[in-house]
Every structure is written in structure tokens, then in C-alpha cells.
Symmetry: none
Subunit: 200 residues, 4 copies
DNA sequence: CATGAATGAGGCTTCATTCAT
DNA sequence: GATGAATGAAGCCTCATTCAT
């Protein structure tokens, strides 16, 4: 039975996520994670080979969590594509705004992708994440074209890539500036974009 | 009399930028910076109080450099706003693509903004940078409205914020994925966006 | 009722001997021993109070094994003492050459005798081992004197001590240098020594 | 000028030798060495890459010291070879008896030669040491044959190897047993051996 | 001013040992 | 009795920073 082991693994990952989010990767000590998880320092090493491994596990946990939720939600949507885009937008932005403190993890992950020792894993993981998610949005846009909602001239891949980036970037700005209203900003922007998709 | 001192300060900052970009902040040792700058380890401390200070100086140097260039370029532009947007887009994207290796510095800065010890400075700096740059783009968009190029319904601030973010995010994707064509993607996207700006 | 327990004790000691010989004492983990013995880590502690105790048990096991065999063999020998010495020499050297990999245990034991925490036990044990074995060889030499084989001038104790040491030391050199022929070396040496014993 | 650096290197090695001899390798903490040398912990790492490196440096220092002294002394000797052998014997035994506390280093070195992480260096070094020193003694013995002092039947290499080992082994016994008189034992033994060398 | 040898705080990681099952 | 998950003490080593030259 791997049940208990997996459960504890996730328990540690969850605790670690909080500590990493709050302190940043470098400033986090394994002892902090252990304490947050309510376990002994050595116990972490029963589940993860190193601090870097633990950090990557946090990344995978968050990525999987987010990715799976989004993918499922998108597939179940119906109605005009423009409406669906607005839903997706609201869902993603709200989901992260609800837990904006965790967004610093994103920054840490990006940074990890630039540090030589972790670069390989993280860079590849991000690349793959984008390569998985872009087509999903692009497919949606193409659906809009097929339905006659959007102009045939639009480049679905390009818009998808930028839209994905816009979400990242607006949350980033929100994280920097608590007065920045990412949700309203994204809605206003999306309205303009959709107008463009229809009239390009 | 501050000339030589300032010159050397910049020399160190430049060297540090390269090392930080390549190794990441945490993995960079002051000794590495010193070697890259061709000076002694102790000398750095004649110009910077600490590693964090040096890092922040790199940030300011890069931000100032980028910001000033962009601001000046934008002010000198003439012609249709849509055309100007395309020019700005190409300029920014190309500028960074030319030195994409340095883009990891951006990731490091974001990450620094999440580490408790540097959070304050960096978070504020980023907030300010966005608050300075957003209005410049927004003003441009409003100029488009005034000229009758763009619809009056658009929210200039929101589009400006998202556009700024899109540039960050597309470069991020380019950094992760060398096969990703940030320039073409941004152009295609901008075409759609401009259509939206005109027809919203 | 102690049969099964003793059997398992020896099983663990045997397994431990192999692991200690291969890795050295410090680099050997109790988990390695457990795995080699095919039992759980905790089980070792049912039989030995600590790693040091286990190591000492390995020492005693090997010492007893070797010592008993040698003592018995020597007592049963007959014929000229010089011939008997040659037999003993061949037996001891060959016995160890057959399992030279285990000779590193000897080095580990010597080293243990120099580490403060184990010093007491091991130093004493070695002292006793030499004090037991030296007289056996010395008695043999005295037998040679009595029989008129050897000169009366020889110091039996001194020759015995050195002969014992020579065996240790030749095996040591063999362990260091696989090209070193300990058996032939010892035989040639012994020939000279016996000539000395007869003509001193 | 490497003078000061080399001087400090030797200072650390000397201090380390004492600590290693007293505590054994495993039980010695780098902090102990630093304290014994009157320097900071980190300073050791300016001169040695690791604890193992430091230990090996101690070994080399001692080996070189001993080897050079012995070699020089032997070359300068004159007179009958049997007399020279007695001188060498006394010199070596006395030299070590004078600093018998340091003999535990020998045990530690032998043990190091059996630990996987240091095995390579040490095993090779010992092999080389024996291969260097054996011929020197063997040459002496052959000189004895040439002079007509010793029988032509003796195997000089074998006797040399065993004699070397005998010294090691007698000192080992002396280290184990403070009541063991290594000097007298070696003298008595040598008398017998020389008789053998003459009459073999 | 410039230097780099010296420093020691700090953290990751290992592993003997315990103990609840 | 047997087990192995959990523990935390302990130590090697790194590296930012200092300061005597």
C-alpha cells in the first residue's frame, strides 16, 4: 500500500509550499519545512532526496493541480467562445487572487529555472507546461473561427500564447501592487481582444 | 571628482550583471563577480555595502537603462498610434531577444521580490516601474482615441497594463523555449489587439 | 533454547564482517549490515547494543576463529621444529591469502584500537591476543632448543614476537600490493631465520 | 613567494597530525584541528579541499619525513653490514618509540587504505612506499653478500620485505602493550636473523 | 584605495538509534 | 520477536564579510 506514504508525501509538499512561498527558496531552511509539517528534520529526507527535489515536487504538485483543474473546466464549457474565454479568464484570475500569497512560488520557480543546478528540470517543465496549455486555448480559438464567431485571419497560436502570458503577467503585477485590480483589468482587456478576434 | 569612482561602479555592476544572469543570484559568489570584474574581492565592498546592494544596483542599472531608452523612443514617435504600437512592440521584443541570456536577470529580480530580505526594495521598485510605464502606454492609447483611431469604449489603462505584461510574458516563454518565436507571436497578437482597439 | 538466538547472532556477525571488510567501519551503515543479513534494521539491535558492539563481536568472532584453529593445529604437529615452523607459516599465510579481502578487517580493528571510543576494548583484546599467542610460538622454539635443534642463545620470546609480527606485516604488504608474493617471501625469510636459530 | 603559504600549510598539517593521532580520523572534527592550529575553521579550507585531503597531507608529510631521514641515514653508514643493520634497527625503533603516540596515525592510515573513499590514494601510496624502501634494505643485504659477510643463498628481497614488516609489527605490539619492549625484542631477533644471514 | 587571507555563522544532509506496530 | 518509519544530534563545508597590509 502506497497510500500512507503518498499521503505523507503530499503533506510535506503542502507544508513546504507554504514555507517556500513565504520565505523564498533560498531563505527557507529544511528545519522550517519540518516544523511546518510537524515532523522531524530527518523525516523529510525519507521522502525527498534533497531540498531541490522537494522544491521541484512542490512545483509539480502546483502545476499538476492548476493544469488539471483548468483543462477539465475548459472542456466542459459550452456556449459562444467569447463567453467561454471570459469564464476562463475569470476562473484563472480569481483562483490565483484567492491565494495570491502563493503566487510568489511562481516567481521562485521561474528563478529556479535560471539557477544552474535546477535549471534543467524547471526549464523543461515550464516549456512542457506551455506546450501543453497553449494548444488548449488555441483549439478554443479555432473553434470560434469554425463557428464563425472569430475572423479567419487571426493566428490562434499567437493569441493563445499571449493570452496565457497575460494571465501570468497580470497576476505578477497584482502581486507587486495590492492596489492593482487584476480581475477588472483582465476583463476590460479581454473585451477589447474579443472585439479584435471578431473584426481582425 | 566622482567620475572615476562612478565609472568603476558601473564596471562592477556590468560584470555582476553577467555573472548573476548566468549563475542566478544565490549561486553567484562575490568572488565570481570580483574575478569577472578583474578586481579583488574586497574592492567590491568599497563600492557596495553587501551582495544584496550590488544585486539591487544591477537591477536599477538595467531598469533605468531599459526604461529611459523606451520612454525616449516612444516620445519621439509620430504617425498613427497603431503603427507606433507596432514599432514599440518590435523594439522591446527585439531588444531583449538580442540579449535573451540576460533575461534570466528578470526572473532573478522577480524572485528577489519574494525573498523577505530583499522583498521590500524590489517589490516597491517593480510597483513603481509599472506605475511609471503603464501611463506612458496608456497615454499613447488615449492619443489613439483622441485621434479617432481607437474606439472610445476601450479602457486604456487596462490594455496598457496587459500589453506590458504580454511583453514580459512572451519573453519569458522565449527564454524557456528557444523554439518559441516571440517576435512573430507578438506581431500577430498585436494585429488582433489593434483590430479590437479600433472596433471595440 | 539459546541455539536459534546464537545462530542468528553469528549470522549477523558473518554478514557484518563482509560489509565492514568491504566498506570499512566508518562507511558502513547499519542499514547495509541489515540488508546483507537479510533482516530489518531494528533487528540488529535485538542482538547488539550498538554498532561498536557489533564491530567488536566481529573482531572476537574472527580472532576466536583464527586463534583456535591455529592453536589446535600447532599442538597436533610433530617432527622437527623447523619443519613445524614452516608448516605454521604456510598455514597462516595461505589461510589469509585465501580470503585476503577480509584482511582489511584487520586494518579496521587496528584503527579501532586507536579511536577513543573503542580504544579500550580493542587495545586490550589485541594485547591479550598477542600475549596468548606469543607463548605458543615461544614454547615451540624452546622445544627446538631442548631437542638440540636450535641454539641455546636464542631469545625465544623475542623471535616469537617478531615472527608473529612478520606474518601480520607480510599480509599487510600483500593486501597493499597484489603483486607481492607473501607466501614465497615468508618461506625464503623463514629459511634464513631457521638457519639463524640453529647457528646463533 | 610561496614561503608563508607553505609554512602555514605545514603548521596545519602538524596540528592535524596531533589531533588525528589522539582522536583517530573519524572522531576528529575539523573544528578540533582548527583550534589546535589556532586558526579559524574556514581557514583550513583555504589550504585543503577537504578533511580527506588534509588527512592525506598528514600521511605524506609523515611518510616523507620518515622516509627521507631513513634513506639518508642508511646511505651514510659504513662498516660491516650486520653492524649497519643493527644501527638501522635501533634508529627506526627508537625514532618511533620516542613518539609512540603518533604511531596510531599509522593504524589510521592503514585503515584509510581500506575505506572506499580514500582507498585509492592510500593504498597506492603504501604500495609505493614499500616498493621504494624494500630495495634500499635489499641492496644493503646484497652488499653483505658481496662483501662475503652473508651467505649467497639468502633471498635479499624477501628478507628485506620481512624486516620492514617486522619493524612495523613490533611497533604495533609496543603500541598495544606498553610493557612490550620493542627495542630489546628487535635486537634479540636481529641477532638471530644475522646469524641466519651468515649461515644460511 | 585595493587586496585577499582569515573568519565563523549557518545549513544541508547523514545515519545510529528508538519504538510503536 | 521483528520491523522500518521517524528522529535529531552532529559535522563538513560554503561563502559573505572584515581588516591588516
Amino acid at each position: 500500500m502506497n497510500g500512507p506514504r503518498q499521503k505523507k508525501t503530499i503533506h510535506i509538499v503542502t507544508a513546504a509550499a507554504g514555507v517556500f512561498a513565504y520565505n523564498g527558496y533560498a531563505a527557507t531552511r529544511m528545519a522550517d519545512v519540518a516544523q511546518a509539517a510537524g515532523i522531524g528534520k530527518g523525516t523529510i529526507y525519507e521522502y525527498f532526496r534533497s531540498k531541490e527535489d522537494l522544491f521541484f515536487a512542490v512545483f509539480q504538485w502546483l502545476a499538476q493541480d492548476t493544469g488539471r483543474q483548468a483543462t477539465l473546466a475548459i472542456r466542459e464549457m459550452t456556449g459562444p467562445v467569447s463567453r467561454r474565454l471570459e469564464q476562463i479568464n475569470d476562473t484563472i484570475i480569481n483562483k490565483w487572487l484567492d491565494q495570491l500569497n502563493y503566487y510568489s512560488l511562481m516567481l521562485e520557480f521561474w528563478s529556479a529555472a535560471s539557477a544552474p543546478s535546477m535549471r534543467h528540470r524547471f526549464k523543461q517543465a515550464f516549456r512542457n507546461a506551455y506546450r501543453e496549455f497553449r494548444p488548449i486555448i488555441a483549439a478554443l480559438l479555432r473553434d470560434g473561427i469554425r463557428r464563425g464567431e472569430f475572423s479567419e485571419k487571426i493566428d490562434a497560436e499567437a493569441v493563445a500564447a499571449t493570452l496565457l502570458g497575460a494571465w501570468d503577467a497580470l497576476l505578477l503585477q497584482a502581486w507587486f501592487d495590492s492596489e492593482f485590480d487584476a480581475l477588472m483589468t483582465s476583463r476590460h482587456f479581454l473585451k477589447v481582444l474579443i472585439a479584435g478576434l471578431m473584426n481582425a
